[in-house]
Every structure is written in structure tokens, then in C-alpha cells.
Symmetry: C2
Subunit: 308 residues, 2 copies
């Protein structure tokens, strides 16, 4: 009964085959991303953008965006351009974060980082190119959605990416490096902005595209903020417990950099418990959506159980 292992039981007992779901959705996203950026002249910049975009991440962000749109009553097609855009924005942040002037990383997703392959200049420009294209792509490719919703998606994506989002989180993260007296408040600020803001935008924008009510939007926002923080706690735990091979990137980086992390504040066991609590809180927000919430609930549980 191999197939039975794929069936994840949510605490409510409803069955949902997350593995099959993820596999199908990942393929949809891969295909859409592949089509989104054709190679033109000057080829090098498109190749550099595609190198990191197509490096085979989990596609968790676009999948969350699609799932949220469907849960609220929309279609995959309505959300796919935005799903691609959030992955472009996420990839942009990885390329720039990996630069020598920032985290100076040689490997990402098991492959050489963008600047190691294309040089720092092209890596900076590839990030800029993805950042600009994400916004362009949403407005030029979203179909059958009222413009009022499209415009709100652009606003959300901008907020999630700029100084009010991941750029702001990265700044504070850089400033906190080497400091051993970082407060829980600061740590939360960093992660709510660096990781949380874009995750929230994925989920909330999926809902907006489907025409979510204001109350639904708030539920989606609370759900995603909880899973965002849980995601980061698990990331910190994995940095300690997983191998480089499992992670596809340098392991033990945080400890080496003497970074304050959730495990360094709480210990491993308490960190795991906090992540679990956040996931349960997240799922509670989705109760009003009934059976339709199964994918987003399963995705939330997947976050705490992932090994990489």
C-alpha cells in the first residue's frame, strides 16, 4: 500500500493526497514559469533570470497563491500570472541576498548561485529584471479578473517586496548579524518582513483575485502570517539539524555567523512546539471554508514536517 503513505490526514480526519497535489501543482508552475520568460536578445540576461527562476525550488509560494484563489472560488487560470510573479519576486530576493555584498553564498538549491555563474553585475541586473517583470507580467497576463483586483494585487506585491516587506526585513537582518542581543521582537520583525510579507502576499493576492470579502481577506492574512513565522522557525531548525545535501545550500550557516535564531532563543524542542502551534492557529482561520480549505491546511502541516 505505497499510495496510502501519500495520503495526509488533517487533524479533522479529512483525507487529502498532498504529495500528488504538490507534484501536479509544481508541474503546472514549472510549465507556466518556463513559458513566462522566453530567451531574447541580449540572451545573457534572460538566461541569468531563467537560471535562478528554473532552479527547481518547491514552488511553495505560487502553489499557495493558486490554492488560495481556488479556495475562495476562483480558478487556477485567474491566479497563475500572480503565482508566477511571486516566484519571480522570491527568486529576485534570493539572487540579491546571495551576492558577496550580502550573504555571500556560493550555493543555492544545490546549484552555484547566480553571481557565481554569471558574475555579480549580471546577477544584480537579473534580480532587477525579475523584479520589474513580475509587475509587468501580472498586468499583461491576468485575464478574466476585474481590474480593480489586479491593481490591488500590484499594491500588495509592491508592499511585500519593498522596504515595507522583504527589503526592510533583509536590512534589519544584515544589521543584526554578529549581534548576540537581538530581541524576540526584532527577530519577529525580520522574519515577518523577510519571509512573511511575500508569503502573505501569495495567499492574500490569490484571495483578492477570486474576489474575497474583506473578512475572508483578513482570515487569509492571519493564516499566512502564522505559516510564514512557522516556516521561518522550521528553517532555523533545519539549519541546525539538516545536512547540506538535504538543504541544497550551506548548512549550519546561522551558527557559524553567530546569528540569533528561534532555536538559539527557545531551544529546538520549544521551537518545534511553537511552529506546531502557529500551524494549528493558521488552520483554525480557514474553518469557514470547509472542505475547500483542505489544500491550504495540508500545505500548512507540510511546512512543519518538511525536511528541507
Amino acid at each position: 500500500m505505497v499510495a496510502a503513505d501519500n495520503i495526509q490526514k488533517t487533524p479533522e480526519g479529512a483525507k487529502f493526497d498532498l504529495i500528488a497535489y504538490l507534484k501536479e501543482r509544481q508541474q503546472l508552475c514549472e510549465d507556466a514559469l518556463d513559458k513566462a520568460i522566453p530567451i531574447r536578445y541580449p540572451e545573457k540576461i534572460y538566461e541569468a533570470m531563467r537560471y535562478s527562476l528554473m532552479a527547481g525550488g518547491k514552488r511553495l509560494r505560487p502553489i499557495l497563491c493558486l490554492a488560495s484563489c481556488e479556495m475562495v472560488g476562483g480558478t487556477i487560470e485567474m491566479a497563475m500570472p500572480t503565482a508566477c510573479a511571486v516566484e519571480m519576486l522570491h527568486t529576485m530576493s534570493l539572487i540579491h541576498d546571495d551576492l558577496p555584498a550580502m550573504d555571500n553564498d556560493d550555493y543555492r538549491r544545490g546549484k552555484l548561485t547566480n553571481h557565481k555563474v554569471y558574475g555579480e553585475d549580471i546577477a544584480i541586473l537579473a534580480g532587477d529584471g525579475l523584479l520589474a517583470y513580475a509587475f509587468e507580467y501580472v498586468v499583461t497576463h491576468t485575464q478574466d479578473v476585474p481590474l480593480e483586483r489586479v491593481v490591488r494585487v500590484i499594491a500588495h506585491l509592491g508592499r511585500a517586496t519593498g522596504a515595507t516587506g522583504l527589503v526592510g526585513g533583509q536590512v534589519l537582518d544584515l544589521e543584526s548579524e554578529g549581534k548576540t542581543d537581538i530581541s524576540l521582537e526584532t527577530l519577529n520583525f525580520i522574519h515577518n518582513h523577510k519571509t512573511g510579507a511575500l508569503l502573505e502576499a501569495c495567499v492574500v493576492c490569490g484571495g483578492i483575485l477570486a474576489g474575497a470579502s474583506s473578512e475572508d481577506e483578513h482570515r487569509l492574512s492571519r493564516y499566512s502570517r502564522n505559516i510564514g513565522l512557522a516556516f521561518q522557525i522550521i528553517d532555523d531548525i533545519l539549519d541546525i539539524t539538516a545536512t547540506q545535501e538535504q538543504l541544497g545550500k550551506t548548512a549550519g550557516k546561522d551558527q557559524k555567523a553567530q546569528k540569533v535564531t528561534y532555536p538559539s532563543l527557545w531551544g529546538l524542542q520549544e521551537s518545534q512546539a511553537q511552529a506546531q502551534q502557529l500551524i494549528e492557529d493558521a488552520c483554525r482561520e480557514l474553518e469557514p471554508f470547509g472542505e475547500k480549505a483542505l489544500p491550504l491546511k495540508a500545505l500548512a502541516h507540510f511546512i512543519t514536517s518538511r525536511q528541507c
Copy 2:
């Protein structure tokens, strides 16, 4: 008769006080930009974004955007958020172009470059922050304009900024450095993308916001492509003839880097003549707008007569 010096006569003989116009519009843009980015926590990133944004450029791009909108029948208010956005995008490109991994410049507009003051990491992030905020700002601050136009502005700004615009131009510019056999075709590609695309977006988006017809849009596009190329030719000429004090940035850079420029291909005199011809062609496109075209025509002539 000091005032008379300020009155520029267009070839058609119509009088227009460009100096007074520029002064007034520059102040309007300074005020709008100043308000657009208030300083919040974490302060450093907002300060870095503001440092370059408020470094006192000519504000030619936002002024072109406002002028185009007014010429087509719109108001300053309709175009001001987009005018601010194009200046944010332009500033982003300057911050990133100045980085050590790119042109490695220490001075810009007579001040230390962003990374010289804030460090490379913050400079990269300040550029990213401005890039994301530009799109957000247009959709959150544009008022009394149909959303269909706002969405088209986002698409234009994205195209002008990304790999199809200034990012693509910068890539080819970097690849061409040190090469002495660059063709006129390649040189035109570089400048049409690196400088031209955003200038075109300024003018065309101003028109779109005012509800320009498709034919008017094409006229605006041809006008701006001509002035964009003229602008670059004059830039190349000034790199040879002007002093560092006049330019506010390192002079003679192109020659030192053995860059192929218009004067290196055509000589100074022919370059000047070509720029003049482009400006005349540009102004001809605006004939159907009559008196209302005076500001854009005067701005075109200003480009060839500028000393810095």
C-alpha cells in the same frame, strides 16, 4: 532685460519661458518626491532610498511625464504619481549602475554614490526598494484616472525597466566595455534601452493617463525615442567637453574606459548635428497639438543646449 534671456523661442517663433517653467516644475516634483517616501523603521533603508532620490537631479523625466499628460488634456495631479515613479526607477538604475560590480563610480550628481555612503548591501537593497515602490506608488496614489489606463502604465514601466528596457541596455553596455568594434546598431540598441526606454515611458505614460488616442500615443512614442537618442548623444559629447564640476560626476569616463560613443564614431561636430536633427524630428511629431506642445518642444530643444 534679464528676464528676456529666459524666454526661449521655438523655431516656429512661439515664446515660452522654459527656465521659469523648469523651475516651477522641478519644485513641484521635489515636493512630491519628498512626500512620497517618509522615513520609517528600519530608518536606514528609507534614508538610503531618499539619499539618492532627493539628490537634486534635473527631474527631466517626471517633468516630461507631467508635460505630456497636460498636452494631451490631462492634469498634473493625474500624472504626478507616475512622474514620481519614473524618477524612482531612474534613481534605482543609477544606484545599481554605480556599484563596484558595475561602473564602480564614487560620485553622482556631485555627491558620493549610494554605496559609498551606505555600503554595497544597503545600496543594492535601496535600489530594490525604489524599484518595487515605484509600481506600488502608481497604483496606490493615482486618482481620477480609469484603472484601464493605470494598468497600462504599470505594463509600460515594467517593460521600460526590465530586460526589455534599461536592464537589457545595461547588460549590453557592460558586454561592450573595452570592445573597440561596437557597431552603430549595437550602440543604438544600448541607448534605446538604457536611456530611451524609460524616457519613452515617461512621455507615453503621461499621454496614456490623459487618455491619448492610439495615434497620439505613437506620436508621443516617436517624439520620445528621438529625444532619448539625442539626449544620449549630448551625454557622450559632454563627457568629452564638460568638466567634472559641470557634470557633477566623473568626466572623461568614456574615453578612459575606451568606450565606443557617438563622438568616437562620428566626431563631435557630426554628433551635434545628428542630435539637432533628432530634436527637429521629435518636434515635428507634436505639430497636431498646436500651442499645447510648446513645453514638450522647448524641453526637446533644452536637451541639445544643456551644459550638464
